[in-house]
């Protein structure tokens, strides 16, 4: 194949014929057009009139140009031109190394990257090269295998939510050095990182090194901060060219607990800027429900930032026992608490009985000794369900008999009478300082300043349980803070006052940090590494490279400082971490992160992922030539005046009519379709993939026919539904084929879908990939399905149980094949308390059509018929295949029956009783 100007030619020598075009020009100029015969009675007068000029009228230049273009198009078309020709290097035969960055930035163009790798593997297969794949974020010793074997393991290649660490790079370099590959292809994610130059230096000696780098925009979100009532978000991008607007979505849960987009904001990049900031102001109720921010349209761990409880403002009720002392502001028992909590918590004040119904997170009782019976009961109940009662001692408690002989239910320990006073004017000794916190204490790791001194305290009675309940103590071993758990809640007692009368503790920063550790307050700024020293955090949910959350399972815990400071890696996945009551989010990007484009030295060929398939242009050019010749015919006729003859006029009218019918139908035909649905019609969701949509509509047509012939359901012509614009309420069932690149529905479309599902509609999801991955995220379709269904109101699912009504709504079926024959089809889980019906092989299940059916058997493919009624796509082989198609049709019949009749068949359990009543 010869390549000229980016277009390859299969028969380039034919192009020599183009040289003949000037000759054609001369010939066409010389030959006069054919004469026209005309009847004309005045010819008698013409006799004897000779032409002055012997040269006839010449063909106009534009007509000649038209003809020459037509001939040129034929010549070029015959030369077999191909756009995007395959330019395979013929002489590489040694082992081929495919290097992937494998970072989160690659998740953005992951599918195209995979296609690029597949193309490389296909080339290697045809060249007979063994291939090995090296992922820099997860390097393993290289094993060169035949390309076909490698391509089978491609689905396992997933981007990791971290950048290659030093260890990774060292391992990768040694692997590359050992491999001694003959050619290498580096799929770069487009981001610079430390150590990349080392890899490049190692790869450079390889004779045939190519770099493929995606051209997509890479964006990242740094952790959100909460300042002055607004959530500040800063967006990073790698490419600084152009003006760009980025939409940021605040994801969270709606009041009913479903995932939803709670708010959006737009950040604006100016030309040359790498960072853009925006702010969101949300009411605190809404803010507390936000779980993550993400950049719209970018599915990558770096483009998503998780939110911990930093935005949650806890409700703290402050109640003190001494209300009467007006004017003594600094002596108020609540003054320091107010100061400490006000920035980070919503404070409630009022009587205890008024506050309790508000169900605050924390109730602080400062020197309150006596509680009424109702108050005690109310408090106990509240603590039992997870409330936290924080008590401070004081003169009243010291003077009262509370928890003296018997432990008060709302006190962690028994108290001695009177308390003690040290280091005062009337006592011996020095004021006591606070001992370092023990390892089991929630305060472990906090530094105790030397100037925190305690001069008075209430004393705990020695008890067997006392040692367990102390979480902070003084130098002499007397308890300073004690705690006990009641049900899901806890009671904490500070043995000093909340003001500065008994100690200097409330003055110190330690006081605020202790409150923080007790989760009384939550710090608005992300914690410093030092704050977390000594704590161990266990992951709750972690993110993969796509930014998809999953349960952490049994992943090991992380040290507090590491959680903040260390880079993300296999041992520190981004996600939500918890320690005790506190929750901290770890994100891929740190607040001061910068995204830099990868730069390549001269001499290395960098190109985009070459996925454009070669496209032959021959047919196109020949068609063009035909059109040109047709134009030439019309133009010649017009020139010779015959175009508007009697016969020609009719022809033109016919042609015009033909053109009109060839025109695409008007754009509002869709709505017209929907207006037409006054009767039952099946419908499918438009995916945007033309092929899939065609098969879906043909499949529904086939199913409609089947229903029409076999049952009393007589559906109309099926309809294609656009989620964004069309009303869904008319359709009992929607078929939704999943393609990896269909857009995620808008917020409004989700609202419509959820309303549809709640009002009894059913959606049949079809991943069309035979469930090879069991709905894991390994297949692109499965991942897309998860992505789409995440925001939908779908309850728990289970594989179709053997007694599900789908198995007997019309036909008796036990599996549900389409073009693929996989058993895995999921429906809404049946209630747990369903009982075996007496004398029947199924349980007593009533009511409720499953809102979704999820499978991957490509049912539409099996149902699809051509306009002439024959099957559109092959199913299986021979008779077995036809049997499978028949079963697929039966499944469709059962499905529609199930939607339309509900659990009518399930009511068969009552048949014996009914027969009995009829006296049969």
């Amino acid at each position: 194949m010869t390549i000229l100007g980016g277009i390859g030619f299969g028969a380039p020598w034919l192009l020599v014929a183009l040289l003949a075009l000037p000759i054609l020009w001369l010939i066409l100029r010389a030959v006069p057009p054919a004469p026209i015969r005309r009847r004309f009675p005045g010819v008698a007068l013409l006799l004897g009139l000779n032409d002055k000029d012997t040269v006839s009228d010449r063909t106009p230049w534009w007509l000649i140009l038209l003809r020459i273009m037509a001939v040129a198009a034929i010549v070029i078309g015959q030369a077999q031109p191909v756009l995007n020709p395959e330019n395979a290097n013929p002489d590489t035969s040694g082992p081929k190394l495919i290097v992937l960055d494998g970072t989160w930035a690659g998740a953005i163009g992951h599918i195209r990257q995979l296609q690029g790798i597949e193309a490389e593997l296909a080339r290697a297969t045809s060249a007979g090269q063994p291939v090995a794949i090296l992922q820099l974020t997860n390097p393993k010793p290289l094993v060169f295998l035949p390309a076909a074997t490698v391509s089978a393991s491609l689905t396992g290649l997933k981007p990791n939510p971290w950048q290659p660490s030093e260890d990774n790079i060292t391992t990768a370099i040694s692997a590359i050095t050992l491999a001694n590959a003959a050619s290498a292809v580096w799929f770069s994610d487009g981001l610079a990182y430390e150590g990349r130059d080392k890899i490049l230096a190692t790869l450079k000696p390889i004779p045939d090194l190519r770099v493929l780098q995606g051209t997509h925009q890479i964006g990242g979100l740094t952790p959100a901060t909460y300042v002055d009532g607004a959530i500040n978000l800063s967006v990073l991008r790698a490419n600084t060219q152009d003006v760009q607007d980025v939409t940021i979505l605040a994801q969270g849960r709606d009041p009913s607990g479903n995932n939803a987009t709670l708010a959006t904001a737009t950040a604006h990049f100016k030309n040359g800027e790498q960072t853009a900031t925006t702010a969101m102001v949300l009411p605190s109720e809404l803010r507390a429900r936000v779980t993550a921010f993400e950049i719209q349209g970018l599915r990558a761990a770096g483009a998503k930032t998780l939110v911990d409880d930093a935005f949650k403002r806890r409700e703290v009720a402050l109640i003190s026992g001494r209300e009467g002392r007006e004017g003594l502001e600094l002596l108020s028992p609540l003054h320091y608490l107010n100061q400490a909590l006000e920035p980070t918590a919503d404070l409630l004040t009022g009587a205890l009985t008024d506050v309790l119904p508000a169900n605050p997170d924390v109730i602080v009782l400062a020197d309150v000794a006596i509680l009424s019976k109702a108050e005690t009961d109310g408090l106990l109940e509240w603590v039992d369900t997870g409330g936290m009662l924080l008590r401070f001692a004081g003169p009243r408690i010291a003077a009262s008999d509370i928890s003296r002989t018997e432990e008060d239910p709302l006190m962690p320990v028994r108290l001695r009478r009177g308390g003690r006073s040290v280091g005062g004017t009337m006592s011996w000794g020095e004021p006591k300082s606070v001992a370092p916190f023990a390892e089991a204490s929630p305060f472990f790791g906090l530094k105790v300043p030397a100037d925190v001194l305690v001069s008075s305290q209430v004393m705990a009675q020695p008890d067997p349980t006392l040692a367990d309940r102390v979480i902070a103590q003084l130098n002499d071993g007397t308890p300073l803070v004690t705690r006990k758990t009641i049900g899901q809640g806890q009671v904490v007692l500070f043995h000093v006052t909340a003001n500065a009368e008994w100690s200097t503790l409330p003055f110190s920063g330690l006081f605020v940090k202790m409150l923080d550790r007790l989760a009384v307050s939550s710090s608005a700024t992300s914690p410093e590494a030092a704050d977390l020293s000594g704590t161990v955090w266990t992951p709750l949910q972690v993110m993969d490279g796509f930014g998809t959350m999953r349960d952490a399972g049994t992943l090991q815990g992380v040290d507090g400082p590491d959680l903040i400071k260390a880079d993300t890696g296999p041992n520190l996945l981004p996600g939500i971490y918890t320690s005790g009551d506190r929750v901290v989010a770890r994100n891929v990007l740190s607040p001061d992160a910068v995204l830099n484009l990868a730069e390549w030295p001269n001499g290395i060929s960098v190109s985009g992922y070459a996925t454009e398939p070669p496209r032959p242009l021959g047919g196109l050019l020949l068609a063009l030539a035909l059109v040109l010749l047709l134009v030439d015919v019309i133009a010649s006729l017009a020139l010779s005046g015959r175009l508007l003859g009697k016969a020609a006029r009719g022809t033109i009218a016919m042609l015009a009519l033909g053109m009109i019918t060839l025109l695409p139908p008007p754009a509002n035909a869709q709505n017209a379709d929907i207006d037409r649905v006054s009767e039952l019609a099946l419908a499918h969701i438009i995916t945007g993939d033309k092929n899939v949509d065609e098969i879906a509509i043909a499949g529904l047509r086939g199913l409609s026919d089947t229903l029409f012939f076999r049952t009393s359901i007589e559906p109309q012509e099926p309809v294609s539904v656009d989620l964004e614009t069309d009303e869904l309420a008319f359709f009992p069932i929607l078929y939704w084929p999943i393609t990896p690149d269909q857009p995620r529905p808008s917020v409004e479309a989700y609202a419509k879908l959820n309303a549809y599902l709640r009002s009894g509609g059913m959606i049949l999801f079809d991943t069309r990939d035979s469930n090879i991955s069991g709905f894991g995220s390994a297949s692109p379709n499965g991942r897309k399905l998860q992505d789409i269904a995440k925001l939908m109101d779908i309850s728990a699912l289970e594989p179709v149980p053997a007694d599900h009504v789908l198995t007997r709504a019309f036909y008796l079926l036990q599996d549900f094949p389409g073009r693929h024959n996989s058993r895995e089809v999921w429906v809404e889980a049946s209630p747990v308390n369903a009982e075996q019906a007496e004398g029947m092989p199924f349980r007593n299940l009533n009511d409720g059509v499953t809102p979704v059916v999820i499978g991957g058997n490509d049912w539409a493919g099996a149902w699809a018929i051509t306009p002439s009624g024959g099957p559109m796509l092959p199913v299986g082989r021979g008779f077995g295949g036809e049997r499978q198609r028949e079963l697929a049709n039966r499944f469709g019949v059962n499905l529609v029956m199930h939607v339309l009749t509900g659990n009518y068949k399930s009511d068969q359990v009552h048949v014996p009783a009914l027969l009995d009543r009829l006296g049969q």
Partner: protein
């Protein structure tokens, strides 16, 4: 419009056109004793059927001429005189050659169609006015009556094979009136011969040239072979638009020739285009045939 011309339809359409005009009194400038009696009162005494006047008998009046019924009323003898009445003979010639069977546009009638309608309309008008109409030549001598009109219509409906048929000039009745309708695009010599012959016999009349609009405009371009309608004559040109001016000059010359010929012989020359209505043509004919009478 191009429905097959049968004598019946031709007559019906001609009567339609003729109905819109008052009876035409053909001009009879010269009356000779040879002309037969007709309905034309000559406003003088002579031979005729209608009473004109009683006059006293004079010397030389034959006794048989005395009207005794009037004379018996007194002593004087009277002679009864009658008005002198004659009928004019009008001879029509309509070109039925192939060149007349032409139209440039489906919406226009062929020239022959228009010529036939005009000729027959005129014949009907004349007949209604009491004149005798016939064709030139010997096939249909002038007569009166509806039967004559029927025969006229039949004969006019015939087509001739000749390309450009010359006017028939034989058997011209002296002092009669005549009307020639044709496109006069063929050789002009027979026309000249016919007119001079007619003038010799004292026949006066009207020459109506009927042309198609394309013959006036010559809207042709490019390499063209022009063929006569019968296909006998052809002329090829490489640039038709170049011929236009010279063709128009020749056409103007032809018209001028005809005009001159008419002036010399005392005839009237008229030009009619098929895109105009037949009514205008008939109106002009009416005035031309009536104009000399100056009644």
């Amino acid at each position: 419009m191009n429905s097959p011309v049968t004598s019946a339809t031709l007559r019906a359409r001609s009567e339609g056109h003729a109905a819109r005009l008052p009876p035409l009194l053909a001009r009879a400038e010269q009356l000779a004793g040879a002309v037969l009696l007709g309905d034309h009162g000559r406003r003088r005494s002579g031979m005729g059927d209608d009473f004109w006047q009683y006059r006293p008998a004079q010397v030389g009046d034959s006794r048989r001429m005395i009207d005794h019924r009037r004379s018996a009323m007194g002593d004087q003898q009277f002679v009864r005189e009658r008005e002198w009445q004659i009928a004019q003979s009008v001879m029509l010639w309509c070109d039925q050659g192939a060149s007349m069977r032409f139209t440039s546009n489906d919406d226009l009638p062929t020239k022959i169609d228009r010529a036939r309608v005009l000729t027959l309309s005129l014949a009907i008008l004349l007949n209604r006015a009491g004149e005798r109409v016939g064709l030139t030549g010997t096939r249909l001598p002038p007569r009166r009556g509806n039967a004559q009109i029927t025969q006229l219509a039949e004969m006019l409906s015939e087509d001739q094979e000749t390309e450009y048929s010359p006017p028939e000039h034989r058997a011209m009745i002296p002092n009669a009136a005549a009307m020639f309708a044709s496109d006069f695009l063929g050789d002009i010599a027979p026309v000249k011969l016919a007119l001079t012959k007619a003038a010799d016999r004292g026949v006066r009349g009207v020459l109506l040239q009927i042309l198609d609009p394309s013959e006036e405009a010559f809207p042709f371009h490019g390499r063209t072979i022009f063929e006569s309608v019968g296909g006998m004559v052809r002329h090829e040109t490489l640039k038709a638009n170049d011929l236009r001016d010279r063709y128009l000059t020749r056409l103007a010359e032809r018209k001028a020739d005809l005009q001159r010929l008419c002036t010399r012989t005392g005839w009237q020359y008229g030009l009619h285009h098929t895109e105009k209505s037949a009514q205008t043509g008939l109106l002009w004919l009416y005035q031309a045939m009536n104009g000399g009478a100056r009644i």
